[in-house]
Symmetry: C2
Subunit: 296 residues, 2 copies
Amino acid sequence: MTEPFDDRKARASGWFRELRDRIVAAFEDLEDSQSEGPFAAAPAGRFEVRETKRASDDGSDAGGGLMSVMRGGRVFEKVGVNVSTVHGTLGAAAQKAMAARGVPGMDDDPTFWASGISLVAHMQNPHTPAVHMNTRMFWTPHAWWFGGGADLNPCIEYAEDTADFHAQMKAACDAHGADYYDRFKAWADEYFFVPHRGRARGVGGIFYDDLNTGAWDADFAFTRSVGEAFLPAFVPVTERRRATPWTPDDKETQLIHRGLYAEYNLVYDRGTKFGLATGHDANAVLMSLPPEAKWP
Amino acid sequence: MTEPFDDRKARASGWFRELRDRIVAAFEDLEDSQSEGPFAAAPAGRFEVRETKRASDDGSDAGGGLMSVMRGGRVFEKVGVNVSTVHGTLGAAAQKAMAARGVPGMDDDPTFWASGISLVAHMQNPHTPAVHMNTRMFWTPHAWWFGGGADLNPCIEYAEDTADFHAQMKAACDAHGADYYDRFKAWADEYFFVPHRGRARGVGGIFYDDLNTGAWDADFAFTRSVGEAFLPAFVPVTERRRATPWTPDDKETQLIHRGLYAEYNLVYDRGTKFGLATGHDANAVLMSLPPEAKWP
């Protein structure tokens, strides 16, 4: 490939970083504006920010990222927003998994570069849904693609919240491909299904991977739209539910639902598997795990 | 093979069931005898027992088991003791995994039979170690083998407990093979290592798999010794620690250690993977998960 990928990599990773900055600011605003209801009298939560490093087998720099975690806030019980830009050589397992998915050239050159943003929020209020968002660009000498999506994970479901969240995701999709929402909603329904429990992890959203239409600019623009849809999809739902009083039973329901979330992430999640297999900082990879979970 | 495997299968599965009965009785005795210290005034815990069924793809009977769980006792916060005897056809992934481990004949006949006992105990007292024990017999038309072991998982380590537990496991090994303890202790150290955390899950014990010396009776006798060593290895340690007062910090340490335990079981444990992949009752497979865990 002769395309100017250095420039594209920089544009993508720069944009993931900007989105991170906007989300971190918006989440701290949510903390500041929680002026009634549970925890309103507690200090507003703030993110702790830490750089993460990844070393290659020979000890040389293999990229890293920025891990931002807010704990014990008024609205967020634990939320992580990670960005990372990593490069190096894929291990045998990751190489095989990608070849099996049809990524070209994986057999003869396992060099890769990947950049993305990943967010998981576990909320104080059981009426406010947990949420996950992730968008990423992946590059190898023979291929590049985007992936990502966002999905809502309420333990107490409100049809209105589900509808509003999906409407934002649909709008993000519709601007880029007439069939994108239907395809990527169906993909999320399949991807976030927990086979051993025979149920979905949450109420879905969209998920896509291996997106390469041949037009890098268009695919990057779509990925930006997904990332930009996240705050309008999630913040109003949070504002609507965050002051609702909850019972100990509601909290118990939430902790059990978080057990399901942890099961999914540790057994099936592609990003978690990739992160652990490629030796990224385990605390950053596993910041998606809930602050507390129950398997009664 | 022309050996009388029906008889051997019946002897093995019958013995796993007897061991289960003895352990269940001993654990209820521990509950009854908790007459001082934390929770001594609460009702003594009792196991709830439920039969589990497994159906093959065509809906026909594929075996099942007995799941026994005690929750919220004086000594045990949650403990599961499962026995199961299952048979059928291995899925492609399990078949491949076994072929890769060197099990003969996996490529042309995926028929299998397996029976075993599996136990995980999460304790009320952070000074009392969590514990895992599992022994099993596996049979295919071309092979049979035993596997199992037991390992201790304290969140607050006491060298005395570790030494006593290992001494029982060593005695069980020494009666059957001069090198068994060294080999199977080393195997446990390797098997229960959590690569992404760069640490062991606990303080080890023994682990073995694919054990077939050619002498079924000898290998079954060894497996019985391991199972029989479990109560003498674990009960005295529990009796020693169960009345020790704990602080909120001790409890927090325990909940975080349980997070590590859950990570290990969901990401790496062979039995968990096998159980989920072969469609056994997820509640039975995942009874190993802690009643409560934290990832702060």
